[in-house]
Chain length 200, copies 2
DNA sequence: TGTACATCAGTGAACGCGCGTTCACTGATGTAC
DNA sequence: TGTACATCAGTGAACGCGCGTTCACTGATGTAC
């Protein structure tokens, strides 16, 4: 690290980079396997390390889960935002872009890259207070994102947020098959038919 | 057991009664603690037994989870149906009765007595094929129950079912506190304002 | 510039504990005669 | 009706394994002089 970057605090240390890599790995893993599907040794191995070094980075497994959930929330939100942006550039309304991006078949089959709330919702009440606090913030962020896309004459953002999360979860519960995809499509079309207004 | 009841097959054996008690206990436990929150020894103890006898009743822990989910689904559904019935007798429309019963504060804080789908949704994709199969059936049953309560001019039952499940999950994710209850109330009122029609 | 020392990130063996599963045994209930 | 035996539900100790956590150590990087 050069003297300049050290002074300016711009270059993360080797340890910070490793820490970051562990968190990123865990952020994917919790969305794929749930909070219980994430083991310390697994995560370290997947991050290219041995499990012994874990406690130089985190006070406990729970501390990792908390950081991982925060990261998963940010990462999922920015991924959805990116897909919304693509659809907006193709001329979709803000609302249609959001609904199409969130309730896409891609989202259905790739929980580890998408919305953390949808991937973990029913496990949240059983987590530690720290994790629950981070989760509550992700829920607020999700509602805020929905609010940002709503036309004026559409019901409140919380209602649509519940609709989006519920549709994804029930579809996934049915499975990544014809039946699950049908539910996803049905709910997406119903939402758009009800609330999407052509731009004036 | 008398010869008569034995022939008529009306009285369950002592073993069947015990089996039933274990399943009932587990059906509550999975909704309270999730699939991972349920241990063989815990369940047996809660059912008043020792863990050694477990494998005389079930081939594996997974077999118990499957039976428990089926039971939890039936039990939750009948509990909701009962609360719907109470509200109907007080003059509520079928739709209002369903929404009020499902999105009640009581339901928010008592997952172990209520809808299994809402309590477990995001864990379902990570379970064994047998459990997932049982879960898919519970989702279909939930949608059917909603369909049964819908007035003619309301959007499709799957959409409302997603809404109900999503609202409960996000509320629980926020916590059994003012914020969670506020989300529950908001979504309940929005649904009723949009879709409840006074009886003709 | 080179040498000696200190710091630090990561390694890998070991620990303790919980949990799913097995099994020999017990005490109660049912059956044959 | 009573006795001997068989069946069966449930007991409790033991097992093997995985997982979170600890710790003494190593090899690389940085620092003092």
């Amino acid at each position: 690290m050069s003297e300049y970057t050290a002074l300016m605090n711009t270059a993360p240390s080797r340890k910070q980079l490793t820490h970051d890599r562990i968190v990123t790995t865990a952020a994917k893993a919790i969305r794929r396997g749930g909070f219980h599907g994430v083991g310390v040794a697994d995560i370290m191995k997947e991050a290219g390390l041995t499990h012994g070094g874990f406690y130089a980075h985190f006070a406990s497994r729970n501390a990792l889960l908390t950081e991982a959930l925060e990261r998963a929330g940010q990462e999922g939100a920015s991924r959805v935002a990116k897909e919304v942006e693509t659809r907006r550039r193709q001329g979709a309304s803000a609302f249609r872009a959001l609904v199409d991006a969130y309730l896409s078949e891609r989202h259905l089959g790739a929980p580890e890259r998408m919305c953390a709330v949808a991937a973990l919702a029913s496990e949240i009440p059983r987590q530690s207070p720290e994790v629950r606090k981070a989760a509550a913030q992700r829920v607020r962020d999700l509602i805020a994102m929905v609010a940002h896309s709503l036309p004026a004459d559409v019901p409140s953002a919380p209602v649509i947020a519940c609709q989006l999360v519920g549709a994804l979860q029930l579809s996934r519960a049915l499975g990544d098959n014809a039946e699950g995809r049908a539910l996803l499509t049905t709910t997406r079309n119903a939402l758009l038919a009800q609330f999407d207004r052509p731009a004036p």
